[in-house]
Structure formats: C-alpha cells, structure tokens
Symmetry: C2
C-alpha cells in the first residue's frame, strides 16, 4: 500500500515510516521540521540527537534495502501538499502533522494561535487534498484520549447513544478537553466527521493515550534511527519523563495528588495500531474512532513502577508531589472502552517490570546527555 | 456600559450599535469590511446601498446626538485588537466578527480556510484580549442554532445531562452542524467554554435561529442607516430571500421537501437579546448558552405565509420546490428549548401577517434594485 506520513520526522512519524516500510508498504514522509525548531528555540533538545529526514532515510535504505521518500514542506501550504499527493498518489495518509504538546499550547498567545491554526488548517488541507486527488484515500489521523477529559460516565469508543425524555439519538461522544492542544484534537475530529457526512471521505481517528518507549524493532538497529525522544516538561510524555528523572537522580515530578488515570501504550503498539487501521480501512463516509491504549494507570502507579524497576537496577528513585501546573481532576472516575483495535488483531505490549528496566538501561547509556534544567514544569495553565 | 461591537458593519452589527447607543450605552464598532468586499467580489450586493461605517456613525450622531466610535481593522490582527481594547476599555464585547454564510464556507478550499481561520482566530484573539486587559469583560458571542443540527431528541439550552450505564454526567450539548460555517460556530463555542473553565472568563453564547427583518426602530428613520440586507443565495437568510423573490415575481426557492424546521426571530429581537445578555452578564467562569429564537416554522410554513401576505398586497407568489443544494434532513424531529432569554425579560415579536406585509411593502419600494440572477442557489454542498 502507498502510505504518506505527514509529520514523518516526529516521535511517532519516523518509526511509523520504518515499520510500514519494513512490512513492504511504499512509504513517503512529509515534515516541515517545526518540532525540531521549537525544541531548539525552547532549549528542549531530545535525549539522543537525531539526524535529519534525508539522512535517516538514507541510513534506513542502507540497512534495509527499502526506500522512504522524503518531502520537506508544510502541510498548511496547500499547493505543496496537493503537489505531494499528486506525485505520490497515496492510498492511505497518516496525519501526525499537528503541534502535539499540551504545555506548548498553553504558553501564550503566539503558541496558542499556532496550535489552533496549524492543527486545523493542516487537517482541512488533508481533507481537500484527498477530495481533489482520490476520495477513497483513507485518512488515519492521530487523535488523543485527552479529548474526552474525565467525564463521570464510561467513555465509549467514539459515539454515545443517549436516551433523553423517551427518545434516543446517537451522538459523536461529547468532548471536554483539558488543554488548547487537546481541544484542537477534538476540533480536527469534528472537521473530519463533517466531511465524512458531506463528501463520504474515509477516516479513522486514533484517540491515543500517552505513549511511552524509546525504540522499535526497526530503530534499535542504529541509534541514528531513534525517535525524537523528549523528556522535558513541554514535549515529553509522563512515563518517558519519569524514566529520565529516575536515571538523572531527580525526584519524579508527580503533578498534584497523582490520581489522574489515563490509558497508556508502548510506542510499538502505536505502530501496530496504525498499520492495522490502514490494512482495514474505514468505509466510504465512515468516521471510525478507536480508543488507542492497552492498559490504564494513575500517575502514582507509574511513579511506583518506575521506582521499583529503578531499585532493581540499583537506582534510588524518589517521588515528589509538586503543585499541578495543569487544571485537571486529580481523582476521578475513568472507564474508557477500547475494543476496536483488539478486534482488528492488536497484540498488546504491557508495561511489565522487564520493559521498564530495559527502557531505564537504555536511558542510562545516554545519562550524560540529560539536562536537569528541563525537568521542572515551566508552563502553567493559569 | 461600554460595549465594543466586533463586526459592527454587518446585518446585525450596525443595528446593534444604534440600539445600544440609543439606550445610553457607550458604543464602539470594529470592522474590516470583509463582508462588503465579499458581496462585491461575488456580485451579491445588498438590496439597499449602505454608506461606510464612518458615514453611518456621523449620520447617527446628527440624528440622535449620540456618538458611536469607529475602528477599522481586523479582529484577527491581534496587536490592532489589543490596542482597541486598551483604548476603549469595554465592559462588554459583542462578537459578530465571523464569516456568517453557510454557502460561502462550502464554495471551495479558499473560502473554507478563510471561514475556519477567521472564525477561530478572531475568537481566540477576543479571549486573549479580554484576559490581557480585563478578565471581567463579558463576551457575548453570536452563535447559531445550526450547531445542533437536527438530533432525534430535544435540543436543550446549551447542556445535556446524560444517564449512561447507571451513572450521570452533564455535557455541553453535542453538536452536529450541517455546514463548515456552522461547524466553526460550534468550534468557537468550544474555545470559549474551554477558557471559561481554565481562566474564568465570562461568556454568553447566543445560539440564534435564522433572523428576518429589514429595519429596526433606529434604522427606519433614514434608509442610509439600514442594515446590509442580502437576499441572495449566499448571504441572504431564508425568509429575507423569500420576501424579495415574492416582490420580484420569482417563485420562492424551497430547498427539497421544505420540511426543514428551524427557530426564527425578528432582527428587533436580536437587538433585545444582546442587550438583555449584556445587562445580565454571565458569572466568572460561566459559559452561558441561550437558544435565541421565538417560534419554529418549516420552510414550507414560511413560503405559505409569504404567499398569503403577498396575495393581500396583490402579489401573485408561486412556490417552487428545487433540488436541495445542501445536505440536510428535510423532515425531522425538532424541539429546541428556549427559555433563557424569556426569563431575562425578552418580549418577542411574532411573525404575524402584518409584519410580513410591512416587510414586503418596504422591499417593494426597492423593487428596481433587485437582481434576479442572485436568486437560484449556486453553491452545492456536494
């Protein structure tokens, strides 16, 4: 299958490119290097330096004999995007080309406007490019479980059947996102759902929980193929942050009470979920939603697991409850459905002690790269 | 009260300015003349030519002795908006500065992107300007009943209490908009609701039904103070279109079966609703939603009423069911709540025969201005 990956330079984009390439798909990646520029400007460099896309594609080709095509440009630039679609002719497009950090979106007016316009204009452009070139091209958009917030009822997979005053209606599941970033990921979904209804486009929205992990089967062959791995307060996800804090000897930064529950998954499962979605596309006009995670933990659970795994490696890991920079419920009901991807055949990786130890050992190799100044949260919601 | 009206040149903006000014409020208007430019570029000129804002403000001052301050600029230009907020210091801001036409938003990529970015960036800028200058400044945003679509259950006023698997949660009422324009009006509401939760801003969202009417008590004193009154397929609302078609001797263009039911209101009631909202502001952190209409009709009801009112004036009005350019249910359940504004004291104007005849007579005065080429719908959803 010909798959175009938008945001192909990112934490998920590049390993997805290799994963699909390894499995015989014809892959092209698009990126404008926004995330690299922002990491440098904000001094939030990744743990392991990452060569640019052209170099990584060349390395991957030398290693695997498989070619990944590289397009450098902005998905918000419609003529560029349209030309890329025309040239490559994708049967599936994976849309990762959004500003992905909640704290970044809450920094100030400039970052808020960038997040809002980038995430919605990129999505609108993808929709129009699909309509213009091949209405059957399947859009797989990375969403987030964070769009749902923490309602006091079960979170269903995409839709909610409501009974009200003796009548029934099925709605798209209502969203209560907790940051502007998360809000834009509800809004991009609303855009896609609308054009499914109007034009009959095919869309899968992957509402993903926080991802953890450093390497995939493909990237572990050469550190220059690693993902962009951030451990800082802005671009790092919670478990990745904790792993680096444990190695750095800095107390784990649990925000508030630590009772915040989320659904987590290993980066290897993200790869599998995206390929499963591509291999089983949504029907014409279908806005299909999967809740993409494999197990739920509280932040306190994660901290305790990292502490325990660290102890087994001789690391003395302390846990620190710090004032929560975000506005979120710190103790709440949380029971999200997640059967769709399992029914497509997902074989989950679970967060076992051995997995944590393996990740900690890898971080220990790069201990000297850790900048301890990037660990305390600098962006407050209020 | 000092009230800043964004989109002060528009169909609702200018009469709102005069209405509030007449009642002793200190009023300033902001506009970038987008709607005028688009009307000219698309050859959808209003029925009655309208002088620019500076001239209308001068006319109004000569007539009433009251001053309306004029700022020409773009609400999407944040430095301009911030400077305007700083200079004028509004206690309330009425946000009409959005691209208001569903057909415009469905014309093509350029118009879609303009609608999306203009409507969301303008709203984000208003939120930031309020936070930056006076967090208590009350934002009154014009919404639309069209955000709800036509669900098979009652439409409540803003929120929906859901019981699901034995647990309960109150959600913002889920939206199923029928055009990109309507979608952006759900998305701007989501933005406002989010910053109510995070920063405690005060917001009233007026989910308005289609408005009809040409003059208000203030504008009827001089035709140069009239609203921008569009009767075309892009910017005209349905009843206003029918009035002009009746006078022009063109069959009324009922889209499809004509069973589409909506809640309607007279432009005079819009004025009253906005002032009532301003005089009774939302609490800090409250995202207050009013469903702003006074009675529901099907399109067939409206056509029949115009036919009858026309007959009384000697007009032979024909009704034509034409293929629906939109994608919408043409027969559906519709029972929206609308008690909020009545409880604040709204005294509704109803669509009586005399009201229709008065409007028809006014249109007849300008019969020679009617361009019959603007009557058949040119923009299709699909």
């Amino acid at each position: 299958m010909r798959v175009l990956i938008l945001g192909g330079d990112g934490y998920l984009g590049w390993p997805t490119a290799m994963y699909l390439s390894q499995r015989g798909h014809e892959v092209a990646v698009v990126d404008n290097y926004f995330r690299r520029r922002a990491s440098t400007e904000l001094n939030r460099e990744p743990l392991v330096p990452v060569p640019n896309l052209h170099r990584r594609a060349a390395l991957w080709e030398a290693l695997s004999g498989r070619r990944v095509k590289v397009y450098i440009g902005d998905v918000c630039d419609y003529p560029f995007l349209l030309q890329t679609f025309r040239e490559f002719g994708p049967e599936g497009v994976v849309h990762y080309a959004e500003q992905p950090a909640a704290p970044y979106s809450m920094m100030g007016h400039k970052e808020a406007l960038f997040t809002l316009t980038n995430n919605l204009v990129s999505t609108a452009n993808v929709i129009y490019a699909v309509k213009e070139t091949d209405i059957n091209c399947h859009i797989v958009k990375l969403g987030t479980m964070g769009v749902y917030g923490t309602p006091n009822i079960d979170i269903e997979e995409g839709y909610l059947e409501v009974e009200h005053k003796g009548r029934r209606h099925k709605f798209l599941y209502p969203k209560t996102p907790g940051s502007l970033y998360h809000l834009t990921k509800a809004q991009d979904g609303d855009l896609l759902y609308f054009y499914c209804r109007i034009w009959g486009i095919r869309v899968t929205d992957l509402n993903q929980g926080p991802v953890y992990g450093i390497v995939t089967d493909e990237s572990q062959q050469d550190e220059r193929l690693f993902s962009i791995f951030n451990y800082d307060d802005i671009f790092g996800t919670v478990l990745n942050r904790f792993l680096v804090q444990a190695v750095a000897g800095v107390p784990l930064t649990v925000y508030g009470k630590g009772g915040q529950t989320r659904g987590y998954l290993n980066i290897k499962d993200t790869m599998a979920c995206v390929e499963l979605s591509l291999r089983h596309p949504a029907a014409a006009g279908e806005y299909r939603v999967f809740n993409q995670f494999v197990e739920t933990f509280t932040v306190n659970d994660l901290a305790a697991k990292v502490q325990e795994a660290g102890a087994a490696l001789g690391l003395k890991v302390e846990i620190n409850h710090i004032p929560n920079p975000r506005l979120e419920a710190e103790e709440h009901y949380y029971n999200p459905a997640h059967t769709g991807l399992l029914s497509l055949g997902l074989q989950p990786h679970y967060l076992r002690a051995a997995v944590l130890q393996e990740m900690l050992q890898l971080v220990m190799k790069y201990k000297n790269n850790i900048d301890k100044n990037l660990i305390q949260p600098a962006v407050k919601w209020r």
